[in-house]
Amino acid sequence: MKRGNVIKLTITVILVVAFVVLSIEPLSDPENGISLGLDLRGGVHLVLQAEPGKDSTTITADDMEKARAIIEQRVDALGVSEPYIQVDNQKKRVIVELAGIDNPDEAVELLKTTAKLTFRDSDGNILLDGSKLKDAKAAVDNSMGRPNYVVHITFTPEGANEFAKITTDLLGQNLAIYLDEQMIQNPVIRSPIVNGQGQIEGYASLEEAANYAVLLRSGALPVSMSIVEKYQVGALLGHDSLNKSLNACLVALIFIFLFMLVLYRLPGLIADFALTVFSVIVLWVLYGIGTVLTLPGIAGFVLSLGMTLDLNIIVFERIKEELRLGKSLRAAVDAGFSRAFITVFDSNLTTLFAAGALFLLGSSSIKGFAITLIIGILVSLFTAITFTRWIMRWIVGINPRMNKSFFGVKEVR
């Protein structure tokens, strides 16, 4: 019995230490570990609302799907890893989340532009539009002695024919090039262009030209979009928030560990041990279900840490009480856990209800908080009740007559 318990205890401790040590690397890996929300590594959250046009035509699900595909193409051009793009058909919105981009400002500009390319005569009549473009590429033209940033455009065969006709008709006149309602160039046609190739000039940098090329390539959005919600966090600030939160968590943990140790001695040590197991399990579950860790998520995690402790405290206080009544250690431990379970069951279920309502009805940042809280409560029921109980039983089994002061109880005479 005694030896069996010592062996079980030793094996558990070794397993847990191995589990914790082996978990650190895969969980904290910046590439494949727990993914961080944009508030922790910078990025932008954007909600684009499709606006009905002047002729107030209704926006169809098909329009939204097209818009999503086009936005996706533009996001791809930004080279963002794991972008999140979602269409809310009911409210006619596209939600885009780009974490870890260097220049959120530029990205937003790229995504919201309708990018309808039109060629117009001097009276403003639209002669041809960008839907007949086959390709667009940015390039540097050095023929004028200084770098000239341009976008080469290629028309589809049909577009090439129309373009040839227009440039023949308007020979010697101006052909204005508009992107949406903004004129970007107004060149004079010197000779008909029959090969379906064109060039738009006047960009300040190759980067700007490249962005416009992306817009022209991906095509125009079928509806114009306006930004109704935007959260933009610089990488520096995100990093700062991450460090501060981790720091806060670490300090809170150290304090809590010491607090428990001083208050409860041996059971305190067991609680600290169980707390470590709790933290690692919660992180693994979060990782397993692919949750993105955000600031409210970290807050939810810290809160569930506090609740786990409450479980331990309720149990330990109860054990102390039973010991004061003169019960044996073994009986006190059993009674403490059983009686405390009743209390703990009610109190935790109540909090689960609150967290559940939050998860179902809350906005996305509240959901992040609720999910960590729910996972935290469920895991804590295991670690603070079942796991701690095993360990306590084993330890008490090793020496049922051990000094009660290990449990923070002064002998009552």
């Binding site: 809160l303 506090g306 409450d310 019960k327 209390t343 609150a354 809350g362």
Partner: protein
């Protein structure tokens, strides 16, 4: 093992059989001696009620008069946090706003190297014009680390209604649960205590006009859970002790004893959670500050009200309406 008990317990509302209630348990006198700072909580209950009203009434008045300071998450608006290389003045920013016909709140931080500007929800054109004006009037800033939020008025209203919906549903669920699991008087005093705690948070946030952001609602809901959790632990003990009561025992003394029997847990849990929250408040980033502050007030209020309000309401009910309170026949 845990599961079996969970099922059996919840359906019959009886403690598991293997618990032998200690014969008579500790006496009231023994419990009193455990604490050097012991005082009779129950006898002084009108002091606690008065103390709560002292905080509640100004809070409620403030809520009615000046309301809450809703952040842009709920009322819509634009917010910019701009970092400069050099230190800047409030005047420069206000001038830049003026030059493009905008107005807003300006708040400097980080030794004047950083500024927080809040305005109404800006259109794309207004936003671009504003940032250009800043560059012209104040100087260049760190564009890659510009922090910016925009919540359109429609979205703000949606967030607000979804927050209210979430809170109401959570509250109803909690109340239903306690009513089913405990007797009416517990649900009644638990509810009043809950409202008490939430009103204290809302009242203080209104009095000091602290800004309410998206995370605030998460804090309020957590307090919902925490407060009821905290209260249930003490009420649970009262229920347990009531069953052991002898005919001549005074109900007040029994409640006082229950409060002091759970005092250790109340103080220790409260203490640990407060440590964790203080760490978040002091060391955490700007965005978790409101959350930590609301939680801190809530945990204080929750711990206070579980000890000094919830069980006193049960005593008050018993004193006025008599009868066996709160325990289903066992």
């Amino acid at each position: 093992m845990t599961d079996k008990k969970l099922g059996g317990y919840s359906s019959e509302n009886k403690p598991p059989k293997n618990i032998i209630p200690a014969e008579g348990g500790v006496t009231y006198e023994q419990v009193k001696k455990q604490y050097r700072f012991y005082f009779n909580v129950v006898n002084k209950r009108y002091i606690w009620f008065a103390l709560s009203l002292l905080i509640l009434i100004p809070g409620i008045i403030s809520l009615m008069v000046q309301g809450l300071n809703l952040g842009i998450d709920y009322k819509g608006g634009s917010m910019f946090n701009i970092r400069f290389e050099q230190s800047i003045t409030q005047m420069q920013i206000t001038n830049a706003l003026d030059s493009v016909g905008l107005s807003g709140q300006v708040q400097l931080s980080n030794n004047g190297n950083e500024v927080l500007v809040r305005t109404d929800a800006l259109s794309d054109e207004q936003r671009d014009a504003f940032l250009k004006a800043i560059e012209k009037e104040v100087g260049s800033f760190d564009r890659a680390n510009l922090e910016e939020s925009l919540v359109g008025p429609a979205i703000g209203a949606e967030l607000k209604s979804s927050a209210i919906k979430a809170t109401t549903v959570a509250a109803i669920l909690i109340l239903l649960y306690i009513t089913v699991r405990f007797k009416f008087i517990y649900a009644f005093s638990g509810t009043l205590t809950l409202i008490h705690d939430v009103l204290i948070i809302l009242g203080l946030f209104s009095i000091f006009q602290w800004e309410i952001d998206a995370n605030f609602i998460a804090a309020v809901l957590t307090i919902f859970g925490y407060s009821i959790n905290d209260t249930v632990v003490i009420l649970d003990r009262i229920r347990e002790n009531e069953k052991k009561m002898k005919k001549r025992d005074s109900y007040e003394d029994m409640v006082d004893k229950s409060i002091w029997q759970t005092m250790g847990r109340s103080l220790k849990t409260g203490g640990t959670v407060i440590i964790a929250l203080l760490a978040i408040l002091i060391l955490g980033g700007e965005s978790t500050k409101i959350f930590a502050l609301a939680m801190l007030i809530g945990v204080f209020a929750g711990a206070y009200s579980s000890i000094f309000i919830a069980s006193q309401l049960v005593v008050e009910y018993k004193a006025r309406f008599g009868g066996r309170v709160g325990s289903k026949k066992s």
